[in-house]
């Protein structure tokens, strides 16, 4: 019984675009995140180097990862929203 989605979603012509973009942004972030882990493992003392206003590399990189997640999220939402609006204007959801 009752196996359909709670709030049925209509057809989404922007689905493929959003999926591709999502994967791209995910890969970008993953590279930066993996970079953080690898530097800690391969050259941990590099993290102690002062790089910005007396802040060391570890603090700058760590804060950077948090801020980057937010910036990518904003960019992703903007692109998705635009694409959704663009395709919604085309009656057949086509090109």
């Amino acid at each position: 019984m009752l196996h359909e989605p709670a709030a049925p979603a209509g057809r989404d012509p922007a689905f493929l675009y959003k999926r591709r973009l999502g994967v791209l942004y995910f890969l970008i972030y993953t590279v930066v995140y993996v970079g953080f882990v690898v530097i800690n493992l391969v050259s941990p003392t590099l993290m102690a180097v002062s790089v910005l206003g007396g802040l060391n590399f570890a603090v700058v990189y760590g804060f950077g990862l948090i801020i980057l997640a937010f910036l990518l999220a904003l960019a992703y939402n903007r692109s998705c929203g635009r694409k959704e609006a663009e395709l919604a204007e085309v009656p057949d959801g086509g090109h």
């Binding site: 994967v23 941990p44 990862l65």
Partner: protein, 639 residues
Amino acid sequence: MEVLSVVLFVLIVGFVLVLSFYFARRAKSASGYYAAGGQIHWSVNGIAFAGDYLSAASFLGICGMIATAGYDGFLYSIGFLAGWVVALFVVAEPLKRLGKYTFTDALDANYNSKGIKLLAAISTLIVSICYLIPQMVGAGALVTPLLGFPHWAGVVLVGCIVIVIVATAGMTSTTYVQFIKGGLLLVFSTILVIGVLSRGLTTTPDQGGSVPYREYGSMAAVESGGTLTPADSSYSVRAVVDSKGLRFARLSHGNLESWWKVDSSGGKIVLHEAQSIVAKSDGSTLVNGKPLSPQNQLRQVGNLESIGGKTGAEAKTGGLDPVSYLSLIGNEKTSVRRWKEAKLKDGSDSVTVYYPVLTSGSKILRPGLKFQVEGTPLERIDFASLMIALFLGTAALPHILIRYYTVPSPAAARKSTIVAIAAIGTFYLLTLFMGLGAMTSGVINLQDNNMSAPLLARTFGTFLFSMISAIAFATVLGTVSGLIIAASGAVAHDLLDRFAGVIKNDRQKVLVGKIVAFVVGGIAIVLGILFRGVNVSFLVGLAFAVAASANLPSIVMMLFWKKTNAKGITASIFVGVTSAILLIVFSPTMYELYGIDAALAPVPLRNPGIISIPLSLLTLIIVSLVTRKKQEIATAPAA
């Protein structure tokens, strides 16, 4: 126990309960109970996401770990936030599109497989219970200073209140509780950080003037013919005990006995004053040489020994901006007095000694104090394993995933995730300041670092302490509610309805869900008492590893690999859950909890993700390919 604390606590808990009863009328249908009718606004849901996610682990555990291990605690903030990237870019919209009430719905949408329903529901139950343990441990830690209750009473109190909330109103009330709590947590954490920065740094913290700074003594000693003699003749040595390469001495001074760490480096012997708890063979307990009592407890600790090379009054900085605050603490000429623990036997007495160590600021603000990134290859693998689990765990947590069903559309699911990232990211930036504030303000409870942030708030007055503690308590209430709803959805919707087909109507499904809430709540209470004192972030890290191993390979492969089939998903969940749980049960961490020497643990890793996640993924690929091939052969036309 202070009156204001109790009043604020009662007000917040009362408010949460009133909200639950108010929303109870919306929870008559299954959609209302499990998914808030799918009608929550994305902005409310986004902050509620933050409320759900910023659990006891984030507020209590991360701040506590930063207070004792510096940047290593902040690694959890980085990893927990990074996990939202996976949730947003990979999981959010497709999951919303496919599911109804539970994560199993989405996973099973294209397969209609009994195996997936069964395994995914069991996995949801197990992950929810793993995640419940740290929340309950946090609840117990909170009520002790707030209400004066023992740890177990706090756990029972949370369990009972949450069962009432969940059994009353389900997802709608949980959403609004989380929304309000998430908002309050952000506001009051910001106020606390502003307080920390305005106060600046000093080498003699006095908890806002309420507790005079205590200087811990050091004195020279000489050793001849195996006899240790302190330079100060008013002290005499009663015993010297070796423990894991360290030496400790029991000294008497007048009628008082105390423990000191013996430091023999550099050719000279120096004794450093420590704190101690002695469990006597007659059952009595001594704290710092005197009988344990409400007035005689371990002293709170943590301070800077020097700030940028300066000591004493000239080191005091006054108000600082965030960059100066961090750069001063991370300065190589800054020195932090941290405390370590050693357990030893003194005749028939069991002694726990807490002794000070000085750590350079440059080591405080980079990884290495808890996770040995410069240690053995195994220790490095352990670090990588933790970071992988944190990154991949968020998008596999059932209580987070079900929140995607409370909004009306996939676009709303996406937008609410972005609000969540903004709110959660902001909070995690604040954790570093709160944790370091606790580390340098003499507020750390040596037996339980989980209370570092609330105790830091207490140095700014009773109101802030009471508010922060009450919010932290509400944090636990909200998160536990969400977890119990996820668990009850797994049993009522996935197992009894979709798997077994014994649920006859919507009303029955809600009723069964409420009964399950009682049972899961009871289990959580028992486990919360058993795991007392373990850092809650660490426990949540393990829950992340179980979630990521059990669920993430299936979710991702279902979305991106066309050859994925039901048997592959079923096998992957089974292998993921089983391997992660077994690796944890036989890990050094659990051996320490069992009271067995950690070196005897058959699994050398403390974090299982690096083994169990790839194993689960590999299982999915192999089983999907093999069973697909068999199916193709079986259905191929005869030549």
